[in-house]
């Protein structure tokens, strides 16, 4: 049996998405910036895609800037706002995606002061600290809508409110949350928001940045006047069309949530000495992240892989790193336990039969690894249970 449960890394493209894209590869293949009929047809498709995506978050079409993906959207948001606004202070959190962390690092080398907010043991950012850290020099707060590793949904409504009170721009990386958590950019008063296509059964290589009308931002990709002069480069029409279809598919949140709850329940029932990472309630419908005492997440991943089960130890974007997860460490989890963590990320394509197969094999593999674990019985790596209850 083959089971794919790494949907936070990337997803299977939906058939409806592919069907919608096909005509734009070799029939309506015009350049959306060309003035002739083929160009105008491409433009029309592109603008419909923009409008269809805008509707899903209650934005206006001209507030949607197509990019090559979530990483580019995050780079544009942070560096673009930094370049266009006075002030040298940016606030983010300790559990952001590498695209945010690394952009902040670059800005820090350019003289910006970056404040990384703490999170509690459930992975929720500290709102009191946020309010305290804002100064007159603060230009931007960037906090993700939901975490990619352990699924914590952040209180973006409260964060936005604090930002508005202090007249600071608010950006949220909603790459994991998009379609899974309802987001109305007007109601939540969000200034900038990153979204991506390949996390929601759309094509890879396309994303968007929502930029609220009037927000000061400088483009980072220089060239032609594409995307309202905020992102140069020939418009990727087929992928934009696919992205729009994906954004409007039924996300089947309830169906996925049921599977998630079942998976958590069964793992907790079947396997001892484990802990769910991240909150129980304020959690993305598709994320299941567990720490297993006495074993390495990577070994677990490899043995499950041999059974045809695709999962990950955390972010795919940091998969080659040997460092423990910066997200789990920020939640107060010790490095050894953090190394014993794996993430199952579900999609609408997963079934109960797959779940049965996963739980059965996980139990077997965990037992096998623990039998040969050198850590077994080591008191120092004991999981601090109380701190973890979310």
């Amino acid at each position: 049996m083959k089971v794919y449960m790494d949907n936070s890394a990337t997803t299977q493209m939906d058939k409806a998405v592919l069907k919608a894209m096909l005509p734009y590869f070799n029939k309506q293949y015009g350049n959306a910036s060309s003035l002739h009929q083929m160009g105008r047809e491409a433009r029309k498709a592109l603008e419909k895609a923009r409008s269809d995506i805008a509707k899903t978050i209650n934005a206006d079409p001209e507030e949607i800037i197509f990019t090559s993906g979530g990483t580019e959207s995050d780079n544009l948001a942070l560096k673009g706002v930094a370049a266009a606004n006075q002030g040298k202070h940016i606030i983010t959190s300790k559990i952001e995606h590498p695209a945010i962390m690394s952009s902040c690092n670059t800005l820090s080398k350019q003289g910006y002061k970056i404040t990384y907010l703490n999170v509690d043991s459930c992975g929720i950012v500290d709102l009191k600290q946020l309010e305290k850290e804002i100064t007159k020099d603060t230009i931007l707060v960037s906090i993700m809508a939901a975490n990619n590793e352990m699924g914590a949904i952040q209180p973006i409504e409260d964060i936005s409110e604090i930002c508005k009170k202090h007249e600071v721009l608010f950006h949220t990386d909603a790459v994991q949350a998009f379609t899974k958590v309802p987001i109305d950019v007007k109601e939540l008063n969000i200034d900038l928001m990153s979204i991506s296509s390949h996390k929601i059964h759309g094509p890879k290589g396309i994303g968007a940045l929502f930029v609220k009308k009037g927000t000061k931002i400088k483009r980072q990709m220089d060239g032609g006047g594409h995307e309202f002069k905020l992102r140069a480069g020939t418009e990727n029409v087929a992928s934009a069309v696919g992205f729009a279809v994906a954004a409007n598919l039924d996300p089947k949140v309830k169906q996925i949530k049921e599977l998630q709850e079942e998976l958590i329940k069964r793992i907790e029932y079947d396997i001892k000495d484990i802990k769910l990472n991240g909150p129980r309630k304020q959690r993305l419908c598709n994320n299941v992240n567990f720490s297993f005492k006495f074993i390495e997440g990577e070994a677990l991943l490899m043995l499950l892989d041999q059974k045809g089960i695709c999962i990950s130890t955390g972010s795919a974007c940091a998969s080659k790193s040997l460092e423990p997860s910066h997200v789990l460490i920020s939640m107060g989890i010790d490095p050894v336990t953090s190394h014993g963590s794996i993430r199952f990320s579900l999609s609408k394509f997963n079934t109960r039969r797959e779940l049965d197969y996963v739980v059965r094999n996980l139990k077997e593999v965990v037992e096998k690894l623990r039998r040969m674990s050198p850590f077994k019985g080591d008191k120092d790596i004991k999981i601090k249970e109380k701190e973890w209850e979310c």
Copy 2:
């Protein structure tokens, strides 16, 4: 009849390209950075694509950095080299693509001195000026391999030699030249080269930057450690696979060149008061750019469009601008004549029957426009014939 002759703007995807891409949309859809089997399969496909592209220019696979397209490649080359090297002077030409021009403009605002080399009346850069302008502060020379508007192939071998002599890095934007002009990066001693997929019957939204081993360059897209830490963002596997297939298709240069020569000959035979822009010999096989006295290129474009003929007035990336082409102006062509220019860009899919149709309609449309032209007989806009012979 419908005739597409705007292939310098974008091309029809080849069927072989689409066929190769399809499995990576909803079968082998893994994230190439995931460690499990689906991830490893995706990685294998990505690395094969990288290697297949590298071979076409005699590069090593690890010298190919996938980007979202030619514009991003140009941005990365210029800004990445500027950020990683000491020295504040960059040399480019007056006829570069907007992606280069605009990146230079940004760098100029950051304190870099940019020298824009002159071109002669055929659009070839001035090598003597290049040699004269290089100083100890010069870090990079960026000259396109072939021009997108009027097809002039630049003497990149000579340019590269001058750069090597003075120990200055050499970047070439080969977006239009790639596959049409043989380029061996080792033999030509090129340090950085931008290429794009959708100009060669591959998908939109993917390109690459060749970066010679050992070249100092700083990534511009921050995030995960993708693309040898030179470009973050989830790898666009399907598009990379498509790009590689496109790069290895028979470019049918001879077939296209024959059509080009026929089109030039017939237009010059059938229509008076016109001039071919750009060189006759040192010219891309698919570019035909003419100035028509007494008329506006845009009016010509519109009337041909009504006949189902898709062409452009110049670069699609600058199509919305009302400014005369900076390329033609740099060649000494006056603004009014420059406004009377159109570009036919051919592909292997064009036929002789299409050519007949185009010439017949072009003649008719030119005559129609000239009958109502307010400029007719205006001596000031007379084309300076001698200066133009290439």
